[in-house]
């Protein structure tokens, strides 16, 4: 993974010193509340319902075991001994003291981490596929490009006060596991007919109260122009994006109002002016970035060797077999497999891990996966490079630490925002809804029979829980001071992305598990062999679900 050199260290240290000074001036009354606000946000610090919240950046979801151990230490020393993985592959602390934040940032800087631009109206952490570099369907490893984008966007002097937040996601595989169509800029790495690497560039995607899927404004951008093209897009947005209304300030509104063609024309005109300038990536720079993501020193296994071992073990142990089926992912190298550690056992807020669990993750990474850890946008943790022969041992250890719930990709592997339990924006709680659904559907055979099913929950229309792109989406709404939940069906986040449709009037929290049950019944009764929920929905539409859920009791 990327390692800081002296220049990176210096920049991050200077940032910590800058924020320390700003915090001191704020506490001394020399910096007004409203002036401190964007400064603290751009250092990851929110003020929440109960306490400040600090969002720590995990660039494109990648960490080493040393960093994970430091996070464990920080949660113990400055917080309540747990942390939360977010849908943008970052980590959040829910209970730090404002006065301690500069010290936390200094501790992070020592292990090459920071909380820069994890909030505020600036370019946020770039996200990507959690299986980058190991997936069988990958065309090009996205991580070297993500790192170049990270450096370009970090402390960007022109784009620190944009109309609104700005998110970039990169996908280098056939299947889009980074939800690039739901981002302000989505980048799909492609090859042209001559075999040259380049990028398809999408703009204007985003969730929130006006969910829109991104559209392609350039089919093929040559590799060298990545940064100049991004700069052109963000520059057009900075000049023309709306600033009179916070809810109309995202780039998606500008692209929609102007039309994608006109927006593309303006971007191209701006880019013409800068494309041959200093931001043009040199082959040396691209090679240099690639060198930080070398192939680990894999052992040479013969084809099929590991599978045979696994078949035997799985045959003897049903629980292992289930875990293997749901929580591991094929690897492009013989004898290896990727493992997803589930942070979603029933009864724990999705994405939450304790300090001890963080240390366990670090230990498992060191023992089984070259000391590297990835955070997924589904809020789980991936160990990408595990020998198949060692999966059984890893499973047993993961089980001890509560990470082996075999539910990845199933109904109970929900994406869920912190909701009204923590967040001051939320209209409704989301964690108790997730838990009630997990409790109702705890029969693994039933879950497996349902198959792949994304259920996403947001506590308000800001959509941090990505409810628009869940196959089943749940949105917390406020009705005269009471918490209700609206259900949407048919959303999807992959390369065939779609936005869910509202089923009908909302439900009380108590009604939710039952409502989900009825929706699942309609699916089970109507499914054809090999169909997942989303396929059946796409075939039969919203109506049958609507009829069942809102049927009058006879």
């Amino acid at each position: 993974m990327y390692r800081y050199d002296e220049q990176d260290h210096k920049l991050v240290r200077e940032r910590v010193a800058q924020f320390r000074g700003q915090t001191e001036r704020y506490l001394a009354g020399e910096l007004k509340e409203e002036e401190f606000l964007p400064l603290r946000l751009q250092n990851g610090l929110y003020v929440q319902r109960l306490a400040p919240m600090l969002r720590i950046a995990v660039p494109y979801g990648l960490m080493n075991s040393t960093q994970v151990r430091r996070l464990a230490h920080i949660t113990r020393k400055y917080d309540k001994g747990y942390a939360h993985f977010t849908t943008r592959q970052n980590v959040q602390l829910n209970w730090p003291n404002l006065e301690d934040v500069p010290d936390i940032l200094a501790e992070l800087a020592e292990v090459e981490m920071h909380a820069v631009q994890t909030s505020g109206n600036c370019i946020r952490n770039t996200t990507t596929d959690q299986f980058a570099g190991v997936a069988q369907d990958e065309l090009i490893d996205p991580r070297p490009y993500c790192e170049l984008i990270r450096q370009w966007s970090t402390f960007h002097p022109e784009f620190a006060f944009l109309p609104r937040k700005f998110k970039i996601a990169v996908c280098g595989a056939k299947e889009d596991r980074a939800a690039i169509r739901a981002h302000d800029i989505g980048i799909q790495i492609v090859k042209n007919d001559q075999g040259e690497t380049g990028f398809e560039v999408l703009v204007g995607g985003g969730l929130g109260r006006t969910p829109i899927l991104g559209v392609t404004i350039r089919e093929f951008l040559p590799e060298a122009h990545l940064l100049s093209y991004l700069e052109a897009i963000v520059r057009v947005y900075n000049q023309l994006g709306r600033r009179d209304n916070k809810f109309k300030a995202r780039i998606k509104i500008l692209v929609k109002a102007m039309g994608a063609e006109e927006f593309a024309r303006r971007v191209e005109a701006e880019w013409e002016q800068i494309k041959d300038g200093a931001d043009q990536l040199t082959p040396e720079a691209i090679e240099w970035s690639k060198r930080f993501f070398p192939e680990p020193t894999y052992k040479a296994f013969s084809n099929g060797h590991g599978e045979a071992v696994l078949r035997d073990q799985a045959g003897e142990d049903k629980a292992f077999s289930r875990w293997l089926e749901r929580n591991t992912f094929p690897h492009r190298v013989n004898g290896y497999q990727s493992v997803t550690l589930s942070t979603k056992p029933t009864g724990i807020p999705p994405g939450d891990v304790t300090d001890r669990q963080l240390e366990a993750i670090a230990d498992l990474a060191d023992k089984y996966s070259f000391g590297e850890v990835r955070v997924t946008h589904e809020q789980n943790v991936v160990l990408a490079d595990v020998e198949q022969e060692k999966l059984f041992d890893l499973w047993q250890e993961a089980r001890k630490h509560g990470f082996a719930t075999p539910n990845i990709g199933t109904l109970t592997d929900m994406i869920c925002c912190p909701g009204g339990d923590y967040c001051s924006l939320a209209n409704a709680k989301s964690i108790p809804v997730a838990e009630a659904i997990q409790r109702k559907f705890d029969d693994l055979d039933y879950l497996y029979d349902l198959g792949d099913l994304d259920l996403n929950i947001s506590g308000c229309m800001n959509a941090c829980g990505h409810h628009h792109i869940g196959h089943i989406g749940i949105l917390g709404v406020d009705k005269k001071g009471e918490e209700f939940y609206q259900v949407q069906l048919g959303g999807s986040s992959n390369e065939k992305a779609s936005l869910g449709k509202v089923l009908g009037p909302s439900f009380s929290r108590d009604e939710m598990p039952e409502t989900i049950g009825k929706i699942l019944d309609v699916f089970v009764e109507n499914r054809q062999p090999e169909e997942f929920f989303i396929d059946t929905y796409n075939r039969i539409g919203l109506q049958p679900f609507k009829e069942r859920v809102y049927a009058k009791a006879s």
Partner: protein, 194 residues
């Protein structure tokens, strides 16, 4: 005989200010030093119509819309006429004319309105402007380090913090990742990449 139709001369819409107009403090930061402000700044609008003849004497920063109107008539006052851009006015509206101006100011109606950062960079990097680029309006101390990177060399700060503190914040960073007005080469062109 029918009279030929008069060509309709549409008067350009009067430019409305975005939020509060800039103040013009007595002291400011110029090239890293605290100095007296030598310029007056004319706000947008006002009761009286301003012409080249009734324009006040001395060094004067005009709203861009007024300057574009009077530009031809002010050729012999070039040394003492600057312009200020409101936050909805882009650098290309000055464009190649920039070279005629000793001073161009960009306005922050709110410190969170970051359009001026782009104005600074485009003036310096696209139009090769070498005169004074001045930040005016509601920007805050903590923006100076980025403003400097975007080509601003003058800061007419109107807040309540001492200017000495602003000088300190200007030096928050000693290096950078990106190319900008102060650094023609991004970090990947400066690192030893071997």
């Amino acid at each position: 005989m029918q009279k030929p139709a008069k060509p309709s001369v549409k008067k350009p819409a009067v430019k409305q200010p975005i939020g509060e107009q800039p103040e013009n403090p007595a002291k400011l930061i110029l090239d890293g030093a605290i100095v007296d402000n030598q310029w007056n700044l004319l706000p947008l609008g006002g009761e009286e119509e301003i012409t080249a003849d009734n324009l006040a004497s001395g060094k004067l920063i005009l709203p861009l819309s007024l300057w574009l109107e009077l530009r031809e008539q002010l050729q012999d006052r070039k040394e003492e006429i600057g312009v200020w851009l409101d936050s909805d006015e882009t650098a290309d509206l000055v464009g190649e004319h920039a070279a005629e101006l000793p001073l161009i100011a960009a306005h922050f109606p709110l410190f969170t309105d970051g359009r001026a950062f782009t104005v600074g960079r485009l003036l310096r990097e696209r139009y090769g402007y070498t005169g004074e680029v001045r930040a005016v309006g509601s920007f805050i101390r903590d923006q100076l380090t980025y403003l400097k990177r975007c080509g601003f060399n003058a800061f007419a700060y109107q807040g309540d913090q001492p200017l000495e503190g602003l000088l300190e914040s200007m030096a928050d960073f000693s290096d950078s990742y990106q190319a900008a007005a102060d650094q023609p080469r991004p970090i990947f062109r400066r690192r030893a990449l071997a």
